[in-house]
């Protein structure tokens, strides 16, 4: 598939802090690409350089899609992590304005706005002021503002932060729909679980540098099939002491075990049998979370990154 965007060795320093330190990657058309990393890794700064909010100190961002030219930023739909709308404006007027500053002619937009409002069940709020809407509805309006001008590349920075479970599902479904429609999506998140469910490709950023990239299967495959997922009844504390286990994370009655090189899962099953009652025993690739920890080291991981 064709590439739509290339980021080449961009760097950005704020005072003493090297926020982004030589990041390169490409985004392929029609995929969902997950930009992963803990808070403060440099995801938002990278995105801001793509959207033209910051100029990189060095390096470049290149648009490789159709009609490449200076106006490519009008072909991006951007949902910032910090959500914000003009609270005093009426919904329709606000959406018209957002489309207008993306270069759309207002006259052509009214019908589209109505369609989007219908899709998000906001038709009856059409003439309400933004401040009169619930938080969840404001999020929806912001999403409409991101998508209204029919962008080729949709960039979402932590789209699920602050969403309730219902809206979280709504966003997840929307992203799938958009990909079905052939849109390209760049999704920044620190929630590995979400990325695993949605992304086709991932780019892992740590301390301003890309530490890992590829399709989910590639990334997982490269870490081998040396992970055991266990569900059991009983006290599983002994698992971490087994000689075949390199590292164990045990939460309640389930465990994810990284095996030592050359270890035989069969031996572990054997060791478990007399002590606990096994409900699930699965040999698999490691989860993104495991890979992430293995890659950047446990000590650097913020707690909110560990349990998505």
């Amino acid at each position: 598939m064709a590439e739509i965007l290339a980021v080449r060795d961009v760097r950005k320093t704020f005072g003493e802090v090297r926020a982004v330190d030589g990041v390169s990657f490409t985004v392929r058309e029609g995929t969902i690409t997950g930009l992963l990393g803990r808070n403060g890794a440099g995801k938002t700064t990278t995105i801001r350089m793509i959207t033209g909010i910051f100029m990189p100190d060095s390096g470049e961002v290149r648009w490789l899609g159709a009609d490449s030219g200076t106006a490519f930023r009008d072909r991006i739909g951007y949902l910032p992590e910090e959500r914000g709308l003009y609270k005093q404006m009426k919904l329709v007027e606000l959406l018209l304005f957002l489309a207008e500053i993306k270069g759309c002619r207002p006259a052509t937009m009214r019908k589209k706005i109505d369609l989007w409002l219908e899709r998000f069940e906001l038709t009856d709020k059409r003439d309400a002021k933004v401040e009169e809407l619930s938080k969840g509805n404001q999020q929806k309006v912001q999403l409409i503002g991101t998508l209204l001008h029919d962008p080729d590349l949709i960039i979402l920075d932590e789209p699920q932060s602050g969403l309730d479970p219902v809206n979280m599902v709504l966003v997840r479904n929307l992203l799938r729909d958009l990909r079905q429609e052939g849109k390209t999506i760049l999704l920044s998140t620190h929630m590995m679980g979400e990325a695993e469910k949605m992304a086709d490709e991932i780019i892992l950023i740590h301390r301003g540098q890309v530490v890992l990239e590829g399709t989910i299967d590639e990334v997982r495959g490269s870490f081998g099939h040396n992970t055991l997922h266990l569900d059991f009844d009983g006290d599983g504390a002994f698992l971490s002491e087994l000689p075949q286990v390199r590292k164990a994370s045990i939460v309640n009655n389930s465990a994810e075990l990284s095996l030592a090189d050359g270890a035989d899962p069969q031996q572990i099953l054997h060791a478990c049998m007399p002590r606990v009652r096994i409900r699930r025993f699965e040999i698999a690739s490691p989860s993104l979370e495991e890979i992430f920890i293995a890659k950047v080291g446990e000590d650097t991981l913020a707690p909110e990154g560990a349990h998505a």
Partner: protein, 452 residues
């Protein structure tokens, strides 16, 4: 350009459709008129009529405190042509003061009282009666018997408030005028003759323009200059403030990031500034129209008083007003935009701009000497200086006839200043608008200007 226009349109429509804007636009002229006219009206009316007892020890001053007699009143009603009216006012002024209608005098002839202070006692008691008592007095004016002959004599005015200077002054004038006449007559001099001999002749101020055109009515010019000066200065600051508030609001609402990903900071900044400028011009246009309508009535009156209004409200004044308002606003608004971009709350931004604004408002504080000496070197200097130029030059253009090259130089310097300010502002704006938290120091700001 299209995007800047979109930003501008949004700013304009949002501001103009606010209820507060509509109310302020329609009501402010009346409020201002109220604020300026009301105190004067109250002063003149003295908050209703006053009852004052005059205890006359000489027994000869009754006529001085009598109400003006009826035939004169009737004569006043008769229609006079303006010139005659003015002459009449002059003769009336010469003839001496009259008892104002709002003072009700209770005249008591105390020439037979042995001690006037004792005679006054019951009247003084009436000063402290309840307000609604029928014999309540607001003042007691005591004239001792020696008042005609002895220049060392003191008259006394008693009242509940020590600040009722106006009434005291009026009473004293009435008494003194009469006493003077009596002394003159005693020496065999006709007081009317003396008045005529000592008459001050009035001076008429005539401003001669370069083209040789004559203008009169200088005092009024002075007031008009002030009004137009205020109309130029105040909106510049008010709308500068408005711009700042808008930027801070966008930061606190976190709208900025969406905006900056779609438009460049320069587009955003100029759209905003021009949008709000358009709001200001709309408001001023409405105000001028209202003033014009009211003025049309006023003009008739002024014409009768021999004042040619056309000499103040020349078409050129409106051209100057438009030019210098735009220049002044654009000069100030940059400072407000910087404040909005680097500060996190309105309060903080307010403190940031305050000292700078006080400095920039200098011509406003110096308005009086500038209006009085519009061609003095310091006024010329101010009018050609960057930042201070637009206001000063406008005021000068109102009250005097500055050479065209002064005006052109002022406009040129202002445009250069605005361009420089705008360039710096855009740089700071770009970095500042996305920075939350600590306010940058001056060295940091300078670094933003260099780097951005």
């Amino acid at each position: 350009m299209k995007k800047m226009f979109a930003v501008m349109k949004r700013e304009y429509l949002q501001a103009v459709r606010k209820k507060m804007f509509i109310i302020m636009t329609l009501l402010l002229p009346f409020l201002m008129a109220g604020i300026t006219i009301l105190p004067a009206l109250i002063m003149a009316k003295g908050m209703g009529s006053k009852r004052i007892a005059v205890l006359d020890g000489t027994g000869r001053l009754q006529a001085a405190f009598a109400k003006p007699n009826a035939p004169e009143e009737a004569e006043k009603q008769k229609k006079l042509d303006p010139r005659q009216e003015a002459r009449k006012a002059l003769t009336e002024r010469r003839r001496g003061p009259e008892l104002p209608a709002d003072l009700r005098v209770e005249y008591v002839n105390e020439s037979r009282a042995p001690k006037i202070d004792e005679a006054a006692r019951p009247y003084l008691e009436r000063l402290s009666r309840d307000d609604d008592a029928s014999d309540k007095l607001e003042g007691v004016f005591v004239i001792p018997a020696s008042a005609v002959a002895d220049p060392e004599t003191r008259m006394t005015y008693y009242s509940r408030s020590s600040t009722d200077l106006m009434t005291q002054e009026r009473m004293a004038r009435l008494a003194n005028k009469s006493l003077q006449r009596m002394r003159l007559r005693a020496k065999g001099i006709d007081p009317e003759l003396l008045n005529d001999l000592l008459e001050d002749l009035p001076v008429e101020a005539v401003q001669l323009s370069r083209s040789g055109e004559k203008k009169t009515g200088g005092e009024l010019n002075f007031i008009v200059a002030f009004i137009f000066g205020a109309l130029l200065v105040l909106p510049s600051f008010v709308y500068g403030q408005e711009t700042m508030r808008g930027i801070v609001q966008e930061k606190t609402d976190r709208v900025v990031e969406v905006l900056i990903s779609s438009v460049t900071p320069i587009q955003l900044l100029s759209g905003k500034i021009l949008g709000i400028a358009a709001v200001g011009l709309t408001q001023i246009f409405v105000w001028l129209t209202m003033v014009g309508l009211i003025g049309a009535f006023g003009a008739a009156t002024l014409l009768m008083a021999d004042v040619n209004l056309g000499q103040f409200i020349r078409p050129m004044v409106f051209v100057y007003f438009f030019i210098f308002f735009i220049l002044a606003y654009l000069t100030y608004v940059c400072i407000y935009a910087i404040a909005g971009a680097v500060c996190n709350s309105e309060k903080e931004a307010q403190q940031f701009v305050m000292p700078i604004m006080l400095f920039m408002m200098m011509p406003w504080f110096l308005m009086m000497p500038i209006v009085l000496n519009p061609d003095a070197p310091f006024a010329v200097g101010f009018s050609l200086a960057p930042v201070f130029g637009p206001i000063t030059m406008f005021v000068r253009a109102m009250v005097t006839d500055p050479p065209l090259w002064h005006i052109l130089v002022c406009i040129g310097i202002s445009i250069v200043t605005i361009a420089a300010f705008f360039w710096v502002t855009a740089k700071i704006f770009r970095t500042g608008i996305l920075s939350y938290g600590k306010r940058p120091t001056i060295p940091e700001l300078l670094r933003w200007v260099r780097v951005a």
